[in-house]
């Protein structure tokens, strides 16, 4: 039911009369292809033309030259009103109509398209549920009675009302506090997993770009496309000094946020279960390069580490011998979070556990560093890193 279309920029240029400051927001020969169903984030400093580029898609701004295709259709050849009704549009200030209820707001485009009342109501309910707002509570409220985060969700619901193949989002989460922003980002990613729309998303925040984008287009002032690629490509191989500076000196760390623990070959710890023979465990521990013993309960859940010097020469192992603990990681934990947890706990290894809390393996800081070194995508310029 849900459809998506590719969006193509072909040599799109927008110049404004005058030069200098008046040229802020200009776009210079922008060519991009965003495949159907992907999220492309346009990111850059203010005045780089990212919002201009977005608004040229629904023709709130007309390009000076070049063309933009949705699917295979040139947007300039379409009736502008019809075009806009077929594109979802979300802006930072949301722009909900204050004199209409949430339900009416969400049904704006269906109403323009002439849907009857009952169909509009049903659609509004469905969409409010989709964005996590209970229709019974929210449909008849006015926007003034909503929090910033709720308004933003209604804005997304409204944009999706007529099931458009393309969604334009202009700094949609720029006006909410960081906690709400992160929640909205995650909700949008969940939503996108189900809907698979083609989304053009504008932000000035590189972290948001990396998090939200399947593809990231970095624009620099003057409207030049500085780099276009996956978040990982941009972080691993910035195409220019500008991109390198823009993504930040901590780009290596940011890359770690893109990968998860399950990307690593986990290290098997030396383990023993309570009640095991101490001497045998001691022998096994010393044979390992990492001579610490991880004590597990009968369900294989970690109890703690036993240092070699604390291992008794005989008898059985019990819980009192475990003196240190490591942070627990999951397979879905990002490498950045994993590293942060290791630093925080001041230990060398974290224990990866499964859903039931049973130990699966170990992650060390060295393993994370090695991943960063080896997983770096080949530099298209061929300058630095050869594949190993």
């Amino acid at each position: 039911m849900s459809t998506a279309e590719r969006v193509v920029f072909e040599h799109v240029t927008k110049r404004y009369a005058g030069t200098g400051a008046g040229n802020s927001g200009a776009v210079e020969d922008l060519s991009l292809e965003i495949p159907a169903g992907k999220v492309c984030v346009l990111v850059g400093p203010s005045g780089c033309g990212k919002t201009t580029s977005l608004k040229m898609v629904n023709r709130l701004i007309e390009p000076t030259s070049g063309r933009i295709l949705i699917g295979d259709t040139d947007v300039a050849k379409q009736d502008v009103i019809e075009l806009r009704r077929g594109i979802g549009y979300v802006i930072q200030q949301v722009g909900l109509f204050p004199h209409q209820t949430v339900g009416e707001n969400v049904a704006t485009v269906p109403r323009l398209l002439g849907w009857d009342e009952s169909r509009r109501r049903a659609r509004a309910q469905e969409l409010l549920e989709l964005v996590g707002l209970d229709p019974a509570t929210y449909a008849d409220r006015y926007p003034a009675a909503l929090s910033g985060g709720e308004r933003q969700r209604v804005g997304v619901a409204r944009a999706l009302a007529a099931d458009p193949p393309v969604l334009l989002m202009d700094e949609p989460f720029g006006a909410v506090d960081p906690i709400v922003r992160e929640r909205l980002q995650n909700e949008l990613l969940d939503l996108q997993e189900r809907l698979a729309k083609t989304i053009l998303f504008v932000t000035h925040d590189i972290d948001e770009a990396i998090k939200m984008g399947d593809l990231v287009a970095v624009l620099q002032v003057g409207g030049h496309l500085a780099q276009f690629g996956t978040p990982d490509e941009i972080l691993a191989n910035p195409a220019s000094d500008f991109v390198a500076r823009f993504v930040g000196a901590d780009r290596g760390l940011k890359r770690l946020a893109l990968a998860r623990v399950d990307a690593l070959q986990l290290m098997p710890p030396v383990t023993a279960t309570t009640g095991d023979d101490a001497a045998e465990a001691h022998r096994r521990a010393l044979a390992d390069p990492f001579p610490y013993l991880l004590l597990l309960d009968p369900m294989r859940r970690p109890i703690g580490w036993i240092a070699p010097r604390d291992l008794p020469a005989g008898g059985v192992l019990d819980e009192s011998l475990a003196t240190a603990m490591s942070p627990f990681l999951r397979r879905r934990t990002t490498l950045k979070d994993a590293l942060a947890m290791l630093v925080e706990a001041e230990v060398q290894a974290g224990i990866v556990v499964d859903g039931r809390g049973a130990a699966i393996g170990l992650v060390t800081a060295e393993m994370i560093f090695e991943w960063a070194r080896e997983s770096r995508p080949p530099d298209p310029a061929g300058a630095a890193q050869g594949a190993r």
């Binding site: 077929g86 722009g95 109509f97 004199h99 704006t108 003034a144 409204r158």
Partner: protein
């Protein structure tokens, strides 16, 4: 004799409640002139104000027109048009038309300025999101700008109405009765009861109009404000 009792005595006289010079007839005249003047003024000023507010074209023209309108004293406006309207109709052209025209001149600026400022003042993001969703220019105006600006627009009509009701009394100088008649006659006959009865009636009518339109204004703004937190 003390003023209050003079006014009360005047009102108590049944002779003042009948005939062409009685309170009901003149009240009816006054309401009629005010209503017609405001309606004609609104017919001129509302479309113009909404257009200018929506397109932002001719803003300077609107402001200047409004200032000129405000600068013309109503009495002068009546006097200026008398020679012309008399050519149309010797009687009505002397008493009724000049008053109505002067009242229109008086009422246009507040209605125009409020309509223009109300629409132009609608949050630009709101208008852009409406446009971005595919509302036509007409729909943007009708479904977004006017509903959002309606309290301001009605506010212009309200202040125009109050000014017209108060100022329409001037017509009496040129022989149009209405409620101004009591004031002009009161001054001429040195009859304070009559004079202040006229003042009280005009003031009450103005307050009534003010109150009624304020209520309309509040009702129209209700959904946004009342449920806001």
């Amino acid at each position: 004799m003390d003023l209050v009792s003079a006014v009360v005595t005047w009102f108590a006289d049944p002779a003042h409640w009948t005939g062409q010079n009685g309170v009901p007839y003149r009240l009816f005249q006054h309401v009629g002139i005010s209503l017609v003047s405001v309606l004609i003024a609104a017919t001129i000023a509302l479309p113009l104000g909404l257009y200018i507010g929506h397109t932002r074209r001719g803003q300077a023209l609107a402001v200047n027109l409004a200032n000129v309108g405000r600068a013309i004293p109503s009495l002068a406006a009546i006097a200026i048009v008398v020679p012309f309207t008399q050519m149309l109709d010797p009687t009505l052209g002397f008493n009724l038309y000049p008053t109505v025209i002067a009242m229109i001149v008086l009422a246009v600026p507040p209605i125009l300025v409020n309509a223009y400022a109300g629409v132009a003042g609608v949050d630009a993001d709101l208008v852009e999101s409406a446009r971005g969703m595919g509302l036509t220019e007409r729909q943007v105006l009708a479904r977004v700008e006017i509903p959002v600006a309606i309290p301001v627009i009605v506010g212009g009509i309200r202040s125009a109405s109050v000014q017209v009701i108060a100022t329409a009394t001037l017509g009496a100088i040129y022989g149009l009765g209405a409620l101004g008649g009591f004031i002009v006659e009161g001054v001429a006959q040195n009859d304070n009861g009559r004079l202040f009865a006229g003042v009280v009636l005009v003031a009450l009518l103005a307050l009534l109009a003010e109150g009624a339109l304020a209520l309309v204004e509040r009702r129209l703004a209700a959904p946004v404000v009342a449920r806001g937190s």
